[in-house]
Amino acid sequence: MNLVAGLLLILPLAMAALLGLFGKRLHGKTPGLLAFGMAATCFGLAVAAFLHLRGLPEEARFVEASFWRWLDLGSGDQRLALDVGVWLDPLSVTWALFVTGVGSLIFLYSISYMEHEEGAWRYFSYLCLFLFSMLILVLGENLVLTFLGWEGVGLCSYLLIGFDYGKEVAARAGRKAFVVNRIGDVGFLIGMFWTWKLYGTLGHGEMKPIMAAVTAVPPLLALGYFVGACGKSAQLPLFVWLPDAMAGPTPVSALIHAATMVTAGIYLVLRLSPLFVAAEWALDVVAWTGAATALFAGLIALRQRDIKRVLAYSTVSQLGYMFLACGLGAFGAAAFHVITHAFFKALLFLGAGAVIHALHGEQDLWKMGGLKHHLPKTARAMTAGAFALAGIFPFAGFFSKDEILGVAFAQGYAGDPSRYVLWGMGVLTAALTAFYTARMMTLCFGGTSRVDPHLHPHEAPAPMAIALQVLMVASIVGGAALGFEALHWMPLHHWIDPVLAAPPHPTHLPPALNWGLMALAMMIAVLAWRIGAKWYGGDFAPARQAELTAPRFAKLLQGRFFVDELYALLIVRPLRFVAELCLEFDRRVVDGLFRGAGSFSALLSTTVRLAQNGVVHAYAFWMVVGAVLLLTLALA
């Protein structure tokens, strides 16, 4: 297993280095094929790791492999020892599976997508580096390695968003992503500092028994990690970087900004779930942040014209669901939704990429329409993804989303009325989701064509099509295959729950109520979908007119609640002002003081001008005199 784990990390890193150093000399599809081969091999390795762990008894399902000692300082309770190694358990292997699995498909898709782009080798080199970072994030033996991957994926995201570095927008978005993520990283860092002080270790293996025994954790410690998670997983108030990150190539949006990297925050919370459970009100903060983000982003998605932005806000919104699940203590349900979301959101992004590809870069939904006639396969695949996103039975998203909502209701039913509010927010978001997904699909594929008549859209080439087909199947059956709570069919939970904290609150409903709620959620989703499809499906002119002459609240949605503008006004500009102020202060006051002292001493020194005639020769002369003096003393 050590070899498998080691290869999982070395292969992507080596391929990144190989393509980075020599990729320029490779032509056509070669860099892509090499990278895809590597990713597929990694998926195979992840499957091998999975099978190995499955073969072990439940309580022994972990492998700790250490490659070398990274650092080892101090002694006693101040000892800080960290290895470079991996920690395989059901949680990390689950992540490794879908990261390499969905990742391979996106690598495959990219071969065609990037074929004619300048610098495809650079793109694949970054992609390999991303895979390495993501794998070390989930497989790393301790929190510092997790942090290494954490910042590493941030770096790759930065590089890939700014891939088209001639574009000012892309360069700006890349930097924004990195900086906003670093805000979260400060929280992560402080969490680690505190953890080490309290528990004397940062190793996942060593923390396992400690976390199992811990009863009270400072809520702020857990929230430090949660701030980190909010940065990486784009939650309120740190979500602003994700929509801008869509400036990167579309497969990157699919891989990094939808399926894998943005779920790192969930991974962190799940990994440390016992700390969160023991940290009093920390979980409530997680739940409310998640629910608020889900609703907020769902509202914004209603009125976006850029197809990738609709999907970006929907990603933020779905990530909100996952945090809602974490906050409710339903950690397994959060993992479930992470996986189904990876399937259907990757599919939707790749589908959107195929559409954009066919329209030579057009991303405006108002300039699409009627594309189902030109791109029937893409339309079919994306419809499956859209149904999954909207939570329509029996598509994947239905099962995971319904489980989360069920838990919220169950806790309300068990006597905590505030949980009904969370449930209500979740259901409302579900309705919004179905509506904006229907709007997007209808504007893109339905109705009459508004496409530029010079364009002749055509289906994507084979590698892209294959990736779409596989993901379509996963988005259809992926949910039911992994778990259906109402029928007590929960293979994913049986696999992953033992390494997660036990839910602190009740999670089960009486069956009748459960089925009833399920039917209700289903009805709401279908209804919202029908409305969305009807509004945008017929003649386009009135719908567009309605959006253009929007009332005030809709204007707010179109402007994305002006959060970016608010941040600029409240944080960026004041901070910049402070920096300028510091500069003036430094010039006038700090330096001025010394210059004042300097001129004062200069005044004095006019009397001893002879000694300071400013000629270098004189200095040298006195140096020699001094040296001679010293030597004489030495000889004396």
Binding site: W68, R69, W70, L71, D72, L73, G74, Q78, L80, V84, V144, F147, L148, W150, E151, G152, L155, Y158, G162, Y165, G166, K167, E168, A170, A171, R172, G174, R175, F178, V179, R182, I183, D185, V186, L189, I190, M192, F193, W194, W196, K197, L575, R576, V578, A579, C582, L583, D586, V590, D591, L593, F594, G598, S601, V616, Y619, L630, L633, A634, A636
Partner: protein
């Protein structure tokens, strides 16, 4: 007993400097080549110094009487703190000579003389175990740097050089007075003897102030930092690399080597002040860096910020943090050295350093772009590279006892990303900025070779810092021993000898021997 290797590393470059100085007929290029060979040879010769004592003691000692009348000895030696700094110095010198091919075309021989003299001085500073000898080297490294800025610098070089000298001389005068007092009070200038001597609390307070003032100007710690940006902006590339890479470390090295073990009571008393100044320096320096438009000033102020981390780690008095701080001295030398080299390279092409003049270099100079991004990532502490190890150790160690200071300092990590990525974006991305951008050629093989050793070390330290840390830690532990004891004493009020307060200067409390 007496080991000549260390003396060779100091006297070799010094002799070479003399030779070049007294050989006016030597043509510029042979002089430069000779200097390159000598600095490379010095680097190779210095490598065995890294085989330090695992218990943290001094190795490679040379101890001979020097000025017998005053009890001053020519005492050299290195431990896990100084050996890496010596090697950093000897590593940077050949790179500086290599870089000089691009920008020093006049008075080449004299430039080489200055570099070699400076190398001897800087290695001497890190190796001296006698206070007077330390002082001599301290000054010896100052004057060549002054000339380097004053003669080879930019338009306002005289002003910058004078400012630099005035600041440092003011500091080193205090240091000299302090040293004279220590010799007077203890009868010795030898570091080993002084570590066993105990000065009264009041004496310590004054001496600490004198020593720390000299060192804090060098670091530079806010508010003594205003000489640094001027010196950097006017200095030639080589001067900037040495200034940031090595000279600043003399300050932090002095704090660790002398202030902490010789004046333990004063150190713990003033630790809160220094911690506060360090945090202010980290944030203030970062904000200033952000507000700058001159490339060199951005890096200069980033140094203020980064050296703040070092001071923070040292005065947290926590072993991991102080070890990390010492590592960070090396890291900063590598990353900032690389950044100044890169800025020098672009300046040689563009003859401007204004950020606004640039843009879009990623397309026209891809090799430069990769190198700049790499050096930046090291500088902002990306995990996997060297900078992270130092910062992480400093912060996690400091957090134990000073959570507020460490939390505020963590914001420096965020600000670092803001201004450094701003620099990267301004230079590399977006539309092409300078009309002549297309005519600038990408980095040459020589330039790549100049940077390569630094990058290799950034990766090596990032992936496997332990070989270096295991050398640093025991030596740092020894420096922290006495301050820790003093701290314990001050925490137990009864153990504090109140006699000390009123005692006359010569009446020393009993020295603690290990």
């Amino acid at each position: 007993m007496n080991d000549l290797l260390l003396a060779g590393v100091i006297l070799g470059p010094l002799a070479a400097a003399l030779l070049l100085a007294l050989w006016p007929k030597l043509a510029p290029e042979p002089a430069r080549l000779l200097t390159l060979l000598i600095t490379v040879a010095t680097f190779v010769a210095s490598l065995p110094l890294l085989a330090t004592d695992a218990a943290g003691g001094m190795t490679r000692e040379l101890d001979v009487p020097w000025i017998a009348a005053l009890g001053i000895r020519f005492h050299l030696g290195v431990d896990g703190i100084s050996a890496p700094l010596v090697v950093l110095t000897t590593l940077l010198m050949p790179l500086v000579v290599l870089a000089s091919y691009g920008h020093v075309h006049d008075r080449v021989r004299q430039y080489c003389v200055l570099l070699l003299a400076m190398e001897a001085g800087m290695v001497g500073v890190f190796a001296a175990l006698d206070l007077v000898l330390f002082y001599v080297f301290f000054e010896m490294s100052l004057i060549p740097l002054y000339l380097l800025v004053g003669v080879y610098g930019g338009a306002r070089r005289t002003y910058a050089a004078l400012k630099f000298v005035l600041f440092t001389v003011a500091g080193s005068l205090l240091l000299l007075l302090g040293i004279l007092y220590v010799m007077h009070a203890t009868g010795s200038a030898d570091f080993a003897a002084l570590r066993r001597a105990t000065l009264s609390v009041r004496e310590q307070a004054w001496l600490f102030a004198a020593f720390a003032a000299a060192f804090c100007v060098k670091v530079p710690l806010v508010p003594f930092h205003t000489w640094l940006p001027d010196a950097h902006v006017e200095a030639p590339t080589g001067g900037s690399v040495i200034l940031a890479g090595v000279t600043l470390k003399m300050g932090t090295y002095g704090l660790l080597r002398f202030c902490l073990p010789l004046f333990p009571a004063a150190s713990i008393e003033h630790a809160p002040l220094l911690l506060a100044l360090a945090v202010v320096g980290i944030l203030y320096g970062a904000l200033l860096a952000w507000a700058q438009s001159d490339l060199k000033k951005i890096i200069a102020y980033s140094s203020v910020s980064h050296l703040g981390f070092v001071v923070l780690g040292l005065f947290s008095l926590q072993s991991s943090a102080a070890t990390g701080a010492t590592l960070q001295m090396i890291n900063h030398g590598l990353s900032t050295g690389a950044l100044f080299l890169l800025i020098g390279m672009i300046y040689e092409r563009a003859h401007t350093r204004q950020l606004a003049d640039f843009g879009g270099l990623a397309r026209t100079m891809p090799r430069f772009a990769v190198c700049l991004v790499f050096a930046t990532l090291s500088s902002i502490g990306l995990p996997g590279l060297n900078g992270f190890v130092g910062e992480f150790l400093i912060l996690i160690g400091t957090w134990r006892d000073h959570p507020l200071a460490a939390s505020l300092a963590s914001l420096g990590v965020l600000l670092g990303a803001i201004y450094m990525l701003g620099l990267v974006k301004g230079l590399l991305f977006g539309p092409v900025g300078h009309p002549k951008t297309a005519t600038w050629r990408d980095l040459t093989l020589r330039e790549m070779a100049t940077l390569a050793p630094l990058f290799a070390l950034m990766i090596a330290i990032g992936f496997a810092p332990q070989p270096l840390l295991s050398r640093i830690e025991p030596a740092v532990e020894r420096m922290l021993e006495r301050p820790r004891l003093a701290l314990e004493a001050s925490l137990a009020p009864t153990a504090m000898p109140s006699v000390d307060e009123g005692a006359p200067p010569h009446d020393r409390a009993p020295g603690e021997r290990r």
